[in-house]
Amino acid sequence: MSQLLERAAYGPRNEVLFIQEMNILTRHHLDGCPLYAKVWLGWQPATDVSEIPFLHVGVFKHLEFKTAVPGICYERTLRSSGTTSGIASRIPLDTKSSHFQSCSSAAILKDFLGEVPKPLLVLDSSRSLQTRGEVSARIAAAMSLRPLASDISFLLDEAENPASINWARFECSSGEHNDLLVYGFTWMLWLAWATQEKPPAIRHALSNKRIHFVHSGGWKKMESLNVSREQFNHDLLQGLAPGSSVLDFYGLVEQAGIIYPLCEAGFRHVPVWADVLVRDPLTLKPSASGNTGLLQLLNTLAWGAPYHSVLTEDLGRIEPGPCSCGRSGARFEVIGRVPKAELRGCANV
């Protein structure tokens, strides 16, 4: 159990307790996951966050890490989209961690979206839920909003086809509610909602609705579509009732339950049961505050597999000082994926 999870997400941090919980988790995984134990032979308990061992996010694409000990019951496998490499990560989800992750995402989102449940409309197909034993990154992200939902509907007839948005279903699901949550991957929200021609009756109905758009999945596709964040937000909010908003969150399948919404000041805040480090990729040494490097994400929630501390392929930097949004604790900026250059060879890669 994480004592930290019982505290306010962005309240005062307790570094000693965080390291203590991370050390317990690390020992648990070393004892129960032979693959992990081979990577971190001879590990000694950490006295500083930077000493907590990590797994590179890419190893989850090649190996299935599982901490199979009594008391851990696996229920599903989380699968990343695998858009960059063509290979998906697979994270086994257990009941205990799922419970913590659900509590975590609810606490984080409530801080940004309020506590009152609203109908949740997901830009995906309900058929995406039916993959036996596996959950896609998109569905996992949508389901992290479940604690804030009074009801859930899926607006697409075909999961990958933005033009298949079903406005009749929207009308039916939103009904008399004037406050709605709409979730989609960033590019899907743009293509299925912002750029689709809406029937006149829907346009009229929308003018009375306060919609809180929540999106994740990164900005890469939007860059290729040449859409700025300002244009994205503007087009989504056009024609809606005052008080509508757009919330972008950053998260990884390999860090289920921990999401990092963008605050009003443009930063991502770290809840007290998580932490973020920036490491120099050439030395792995922690970078000083303000310097750019690889983001390492840590949390106290992952019991079924050692994804409690993950070195990502995302570049970021930690912003020093307090944030004007009023949230305390560490905050950071995600700069983007590590840039990749083409590898020359003999066409065999």
Binding site: K38, H62, C346, A347
Partner: protein, 392 residues
């Protein structure tokens, strides 16, 4: 077009090679281009690649294509002409997106055959063949090579749906395809002249075999050099080193020596994504039981282990195992191309016998692993650019 006859001496007579230009002058012009190349480094080439290209244009190396195929050059007929070689006709070359120096090198070798050449470059890559052709056309003084490169070499870039694929195949007397198995199959399936010939330089892997007594620092430096230029992306780069001794701890020692030498041989800072991928590969290897180590600045992963350990792959990872030659042979990949050696006596009959029963296409000293030539992937493709006329 008038022909220039060139004679090469064989034991039983002479071979006459008919070219559309005086070979001597073409060689001379490649030499002139070398002098220009020394003073520049045009994009997209990196220093190592440009240096290799300069070395490749050495007169002796170019002349080697003829001597290897037809014998030593002679000024005049020294005996009866047994064979005449004449250019076969249009040579079409398909180069995929990430192909390395093989494109420019193939073009240079083919230029010596006097055949018209049609090169198809990749649509998403830094096009080295096109860049080198443009450089040569621009920098060469007037002469037969410049005229040949301008008038007889066509270079196009187009995508896979373009009708020019079909046109290339239909017109070419020789097809050379670099790329995946599927790409080569698709090209050779296009309608082509019945008498034409086709070569596929497809997905291949290479490795290095070293005897313990040969592990000098000089050899290990050479090994690092041939590996570091392309890592696993190069079909002639070693993916695995087999130390020919049955002692696992020796593989660990070799790994440590390579890791210590690495910063003295590779001074460039690795790209951030390579460093990141190597951190991943180091953990992947460790989880599989390999004794893996990152080199300085995470430029590569060197992993020592047993020959039977499962593979892990990343662009800059090198596996080091110990075992007998027989074990090395048994565990060769299906698509083996080059084995680079550090052996005391590679010409010994035991090695030749072993080669005779393997799929190895090249057995060369480690420093020569990337050395491209008229024989490639088991084919004497360069000689096939000529039609052979028997003279009774």
């Amino acid at each position: 077009m008038s022909s220039h006859l060139h004679y090469f001496g064989m034991a039983n007579g002479c071979t006459a090679v008919a070219l559309p230009f005086p070979l001597e002058q073409v060689m001379e012009q490649w030499g002139q281009l070398r002098l220009c190349m020394v003073r520049e480094l045009p994009p997209p080439f990196i220093r190592d690649e440009w240096g290799y290209l300069i070395a490749f244009l050495d007169r002796e190396n170019l002349q080697g294509a003829f001597t290897q195929s037809f014998g030593d050059p002679v000024a005049t007929m020294t005996g009866p002409i047994r064979i005449m070689e004449r250019p076969r006709g249009l040579v079409a070359v398909w180069l995929p997106n990430n192909v390395s120096l093989l494109g420019p090198l193939t073009m240079v070798l083919l230029s010596l055959t006097g055949n018209p050449i049609w090169l198809k470059g990749g649509t998403q890559s830094e096009d080295m063949s096109g860049a080198f052709l443009a450089f040569a056309r621009q920098r060469l003084p007037s002469g037969p090579l410049k005229k040949f490169l301008i008038e007889q070499v066509r270079h196009d870039v187009f995508d896979r749906e373009d009708p020019r694929h079909r046109e290339m195949a239909a017109k070419a007397q020789m097809r050379i395809v670099f790329g995946s198995d599927a790409a080569a199959e698709a090209i050779h399936d296009l309608p082509h002249p019945v008498g034409s010939v086709g070569f596929s330089f497809i997905d291949r892997r290479s490795e290095a075999w070293i005897e313990k007594g040969a592990t000098t620092d000089a050899l290990l430096r050479d090994l690092i050099k041939v590996f570091a230029i392309y890592g696993q992306a190069g079909c002639t780069s070693p993916r695995r080193v087999v130390l020919l001794v049955n002692c696992p701890s020796e593989a660990v020692d070799l790994r440590d020596r390579l890791a210590n030498l690495w910063p003295h041989v590779v001074q460039r800072q690795p790209a951030m994504h390579i460093a990141s991928e190597n951190i991943m590969a180091w953990q992947w290897a460790a989880a599989l039981g390999w004794d893996a180590r990152l080199t300085q600045q995470h430029g590569a992963v060197l992993a020592a282990g047993r020959i039977e350990f499962p593979e892990f792959n990343a662009s800059m990872c090198l596996r080091i195992v110990s075992g007998s030659a027989e074990q090395a042979l048994e565990s060769l990949p299906r698509n083996i191309q080059t084995v680079g050696y550090g052996l005391a006596h590679p010409g010994q009959p035991a090695w030749l016998d072993l080669l005779a029963h393997s799929g190895i296409k090249r057995l060369v000293p480690i420093p020569k692993m990337h050395q491209f030539g008229p024989v490639w992937d088991g084919h004497g493709f360069w000689r096939q650019a000529f039609e052979e006329i028997e003279i009774g």
